[in-house]
Symmetry: C2
Subunit: 345 residues, 2 copies
Amino acid sequence: MARQTRGGTREGGPSPGSRASARRGPKWTSAALGVDIGGTKIALAVVGKEGTVLDAERIPTGAGRPALEVVDDIVACVHSRWAGRLPISRPVGVGVAGQVDPEGIVVLGPHLDWHDVPLRARLARALGRPVSVLNDVQAATFGEWRFGAGRGVDDLVCLFLGTGVGGGIVAGGELRHGATGTAGEFGHLTVVRDGRKCHCPNSGCLDAYVGGWAIAERAREAVSRDPLRGERLVAMAGNAAAITSETVVSAYRAGDGLARSLVEETMSYLVEGLVSIVNGINPRTVVLGGGVVHGFASLLPSIGRQVRARALPAAAAGLRIVPASLGADSGVIGAAAFAQEALRG
Amino acid sequence: MARQTRGGTREGGPSPGSRASARRGPKWTSAALGVDIGGTKIALAVVGKEGTVLDAERIPTGAGRPALEVVDDIVACVHSRWAGRLPISRPVGVGVAGQVDPEGIVVLGPHLDWHDVPLRARLARALGRPVSVLNDVQAATFGEWRFGAGRGVDDLVCLFLGTGVGGGIVAGGELRHGATGTAGEFGHLTVVRDGRKCHCPNSGCLDAYVGGWAIAERAREAVSRDPLRGERLVAMAGNAAAITSETVVSAYRAGDGLARSLVEETMSYLVEGLVSIVNGINPRTVVLGGGVVHGFASLLPSIGRQVRARALPAAAAGLRIVPASLGADSGVIGAAAFAQEALRG
């Protein structure tokens, strides 16, 4: 299941001043609209041919809200904000937190509580524009591939570590969806047999160790095992139950010993997952993104060295492990770029 | 690194009587020659358009023999045996136990002790025929995809469990090679963090638990821990050091308790690896082949149930896990079929 995994720190989007002025100006004759539907908010952006965000907007999703209402919100936003400048022929690309079939039906969107929502058809009818729909993490992968850290690489894997862990695969110069649209769910690679219970039916998944929720859970357990060593984490969070992965990042940066060992352990699980990805899929480049990666950016070179030392030498030959470069915009940029190409917009 | 993983029990190939007669007869105007170069033997077969083996031969490889001599042997075999019936325009497809680059250079063949051997160019010049070269397990995957258990499936993973564990990926209707030609090395997915030492630089790999060598190693360790319980295994093998994965299979079939627990443990590691493959790659079908799978064929339905129960429901929707159907011929059939298509033969 797709997660909202790109907890980037950039809020993106122009300031209110530029927003007002965005309604007027020359027409965007070669742009596309990118829409990123997550569990709590919808990000929308007009994206130029070269992947630049020309204008952006954010509206709340409202958990459990019916899909039809979300479609209405998107339509209202597009009409009020961009109708005058974005010609009706320009395509719309959507990335949505869920499992998407080839017809653009959201088979399952667990965080949205959507089941079998014919999103592409509904949105196309309501907007009167060509629409493509992708899983949100696959859209972000497409963005990093076309305009970000994976630009020009035919064999690419993206791994996004946020609240949950998700990923995407580009192989042979094409985004891969898999048989049922879920390819790239690297959060659910087993790294520890009979390990920590995951949110999924399995246990020992990568997500259950390096997802933001899991880092927080592991930190709270560590504090409960050794309250003295955990004093700083508790103080920073207010109380033990309030410790999040962000608390761990802050404490780590402040030199806290427990946070340091939690982070090192997290990185070693990540290395295991990356070794599996490199050996199994043999990408040229691995792009690491999401809030957790952002928090530990300084550890990336060490992660790369460990992966190269443990992967099959032939599989790791020439391998690059690089940070994502589009931040929280990867989803809207990728969705728009995918629409441009898929719909020949 | 590619291994010779398809320890199938079918020796294949026609009887001596049919061999003699194969030199005469109508010309094979639409066939291709498939060659499977392993660490100990070379299998050659004339393969018809529909994937049928029309004639076959086997010659020893000779460990550590220079590549030029192996090329000479192949050329001599083709000339003496098939020159009259296989027109010079018919292509030759080779699968080789090693890492192969897009130019058909064997970058590394650990079991052959080959380094940077320009196999495609040499063989094409010596034979005067169009030649394609693939990794052997990828060739076997191609065979199962075109003419075996994965026929007609656009998103397919093959996993071969023999002495070692190897695999191949078909995604979006194409065989995937990866960035450096090693895609599908599923034997080196981590299933146990800090687990058993593998032959590769990592530890805890799937190969280190379910490869034939690892099953044998685990069995010998179990016998040494509990000699009484291991009596039957020792008796069947002659002595403890002689226990192989085949001994475990035989003892399991004979109802031995220790063999049974070894097999059940092996299957549980295999399930972990399969869950990672299904979640990460999202194939429609997983084809399981090789000698180890053949030995435990009756357990396949149970393996399928466990994988479906533990994988992400969306990734496992409609998933099929099936036994390979071409046995030891998958390599020659796949190599020949790949040559037919790649070279438009």
